[in-house]
Amino acid sequence: MPELSGWNELPVGGVVVPDESSRPRTGGWRTGVKPEVDLSKCVNCLLCWLYCPDSAVELDGTTFTGFDLTYCKGCEICAEVCPVDAVTMVPEEAAS
């Protein structure tokens, strides 16, 4: 649990700046499943990157490299939109 700020230490109006928005580790809320990718099937269309609501798809330039589980909440949208079924959701425990 991070230390909480007092009322007089907060930005005016509770405005969130980029540095702060990366702090909540939303991967901790994950639903119990996480995405796994078969890179041999991936066609690098980047639909998963476009749709991911948590910006948890990692790229090297414009090349798909994987998922950032620090922020992935397990919503399964990436698996749903993947046109070549390269992404599958797997239970946390069974993950390799």
Binding site: L4, W7, L10, V12, G13, G14, V15, V17, P18
Partner: protein, 386 residues
Amino acid sequence: MIETPLRLMTGGEAVAEAMRQIDPDVVPVYPITPQTPIIQGFAKFVAEGRAHAELVNVESEHSAMSAAIGAALAGGRTMTATSSQGLALMAEVVYIAASMRAPIVMAVGNRALSGPINIHCDHSDSMLVRDSGVVQLFAENAQEAYDLTVIAPRLAEHPDVLLPVLVCQDGFTITHSAEPVSLLEDDEVSRFVGGYDLPRRMLDTQSPTTQGPFAMPDYYFELRRQQTRALELALDVFAELAMEYEELSGRAYGPLDAYRVDGADRAIVSLGSSGGTIKDVVDELRDEGEATGLLEIVSFRPFPHERVAALLQDASSVIVLDRADSPGGAAPLYAEVAAALHDTGVALTGHVYGLGGRDLHPEDVRRIFAGHAERYVGLRGEPCPV
């Protein structure tokens, strides 16, 4: 200071002139009586090229305030106007404007809330957003409506404040009644209000932000306190700006207008245009040897409790006149004055008057000072004790 000739105009026209001189960037607005003359006058200035605002003809007051928040936080000086049901429809978003710390200036033509539906003045619309966290200033006449509107952007945009400011004028009594008004020169107003600057603009692509974020139990309370603190600080900021404005205009303002309160045995506390009537009666009674006075509240939010107590603590009786009722409870102005005077021993009574535009006559004020008025001044039917 340049002496400008007096011009005959209504409160609505005077505020439209103030808006032209302030020349805001964005004005999202929806018409409603008795505010309409304000925005009608301003829209004419825009059509003539004498004001340069993006006038956004939204589909409701809810949208007007929503658009105003976006514009103000994006980096444009933003003004709007409303009344009664418009303010009621807008109320949800007024709270959000205050919490997002959007420095919007809004003219309010005070009008009774429905029902029954009515178009005339009382303060029930302002009182509906009493606890929204916005600044509420009440004008006594068209001149004050103009002056307070010119001061308002500086107050709203002050770094210690950053809150919406509502400049309230009584519907019809001020909005539609012509009286002599002295306007500042355009360039004087431009210099006084200055440029629009925010600590963190929403539309800054180099430094993107999330504004108006969700707050859980771990932060909601803190963010509310931050907002109430800003409103508390607005009292001193307003007093400072009023002094600066006095140097420019020669007209003195402050959170309170104390009229012959010094040495007064009996004093009335009121809001808005009835102050003009009460001042006349105070003069008459003083001439007759009765030590009466009026304490007119200009800044209802934030409320100047300490100054009210200091000015009234030596009076033997204080009478609060509310132009809004709080059914089943204490009327709003009465509650504030009672809080201010709670440990002074001053005898306090309260009356509600003028609902739905019922006039307050000088003889009513005399009966109030004499202690002969009932709880509801001017009400027909079975008497209601104070």
